[in-house]
Subunit: 184 residues, 4 copies
DNA sequence: TATGAATGAGTGTTCATTCAT
DNA sequence: CATGAATGAACACTCATTCAT
């Protein structure tokens, strides 16, 4: 029976990600259940609440992002690894609407119970700064703010590939070392 | 009766902006009505639809932004005018959630019937580029993408003043002229 | 001011008859007011209630029917006068939906306060029976039942001229004297 | 769960018939649900729309009428079978208001998806005409017009048993063969 | 006095959640 | 255990009626 349960859990998560990407936060449980090929009750067995389902999706996603960060941190070219990571996440979120959106809208604290994505990303940042690819006066807070901003806008306004490249180019230039005499 | 109607219209818009900021797009008409101290029917007399109310708020807001852009374009220091405008909008959207969000979610084309905010901002950008304050290879599309990104993240993640300053500093450095040999 | 009031009352009644014919009992007061070219408040000055307006229309209509009955009763050919009256009413009700419908739906007793349409029609019936055009064992109750039935069906099913003629032909044959050995 | 669903469907239909009979087309779904002892959602599970519920009731009723017609068509005395059928339907509709009313008001085409009540009744009519019980120059159109008229009036004006008998007697005499020299 | 803006109970309908099967 | 029928609070919206102007 454990096997069944796990298969169902996976199917539900998959279906939920699809439906949430398409219909946003207002997607109905019934639709998710239909796409997953299970009854609504089955979802509720695994996730006590709609919010819990959202949270699970986000956690799952974060886990993957943390894993990717760890992998890239082990790469040789630590400078380009950092920027590649940034690009990948933004590219991803163009498709996967839920990501950050769901959490914040539901009022859930993303940090609670989340895998240590912060730590993983920080590793990447520090290495890139040590390699001289990223300016040293940028902290995790600004970085995550910029990352979040790019993700939100990418999904919200449906950035195409060209726009994403041009916009990130500007953003990355801001992150690179240089003369930063001024601020607003 | 005209006086009453106008007072109520203003009260409704004010209440709607507050409630929408707090509860997002799922805010209920009844709650807006309660806060405004009017019956729901009164809202419907002025705005035939929930979406129409959203649109009215956004239009109102856009008008103000366009006006501000025009005013700043007439300023002496065109370089800092540009960055000041950017900062002001981001600061504003921290409080006023609806702004862009509502429109996109409702599938309304912001351009339709909207005041020419695009034109006003473009004036600001061109002047800043002529003054050498902004790099010349940045177009309106990237600029609006960055602006939208910052607004979305600011409201979504409740940027405090300090974070907003630090994040925009990075972003503005990316917009300033300099050596831009690289791109991701 | 009396003149104004009467003109308005007439305009409202006229508009109400049109709108009610088109939209049935669910017609809205606003629409009636718009068509009449007055404010809703003006209707309420004359008719305290939607039902009262309905009632007024029906009363007005009944008055006209009673008048017609009285005129026809004075005619020479009392036999054909009877059938002509029947036909006219049915023809009328094809167009004027409200007639009986409104009253019954509103739970109002048509008899209360109504002009003596019953008496007028009875005059017509008695004369026709005396002239040998209508069988003597038919009373007012059956007659009104048949009249009402034809009116209701005519409006409900949108009888065209041909169907109305054929159906009334059968009905009139039933009303004429003859051998009536049987009953259901 | 099938058992529950069916019991509830039956209860809903029963309650709807009662409420619609009492309050007409303006009956509220909430009231039907209350009388049926179920939540409103339960109605909507079975009937996607108020109109769909109406339609279901009418269809059900039509099915029964068609069945009755078929049974009577197989009877020996085809003449009295015809008149019996007519009487039965009128008697029925005194109680069940919705019957035809709902359909027409909702703008639904009764023919679409309806059981072949027309065919069943036509069988009855033709047999009665062959048996010499009904005059041959009466077609289906007039017959249904008269039937509809009697039903509408019976329910509309609450015909009692005596009035129904006397009124139908006249009507039936019009349908029987005889000298029909005249028309209005 | 006429107007139409304001009111709010009421409508049809949806959907997260529960629970009998 | 999975299912999906049942639930009912909540929603956007309408409209008869009132009342300030």
């Amino acid at each position: 029976m454990r096997a069944d349960a796990q298969r169902n859990r996976a199917r539900v998560l998959e279906a939920a990600e699809v439906v949430l990407a398409r219909d946003g936060l207002s997607a109905s449980m019934r639709e998710i259940a239909n796409l997953a090929g299970v009854g609504v009750g089955t979802i509720y067995r695994q996730f006590p609440t709609k919010e819990a389902l959202y949270q699970a999706i986000v956690m799952d996603r974060m886990r993957r992002l943390a894993t990717l960060a760890d992998e890239l941190a082990a790469a040789d070219d630590t400078g380009s690894a950092f920027f590649e990571y940034f690009s990948t996440i933004v590219e991803d979120s163009t498709v996967k609407k839920v990501l950050v959106d769901a959490l914040a809208a539901a009022g859930i604290d993303a940090k609670a119970g989340a895998p240590d994505i912060r730590g993983s990303v920080e590793g990447l940042l520090v290495r890139a700064q040590e390699a001289g690819a990223v300016r040293k006066d940028v902290g995790m807070e600004e970085l995550l703010a910029l990352l979040s901003a790019a993700c939100l806008a990418a999904q919200h306004n449906n950035w195409d590939e060209s726009l994403r490249a041009r916009t990130l180019a500007v953003l990355f230039d801001g992150l690179r070392p240089g003369d930063h005499a001024s601020s607003p």
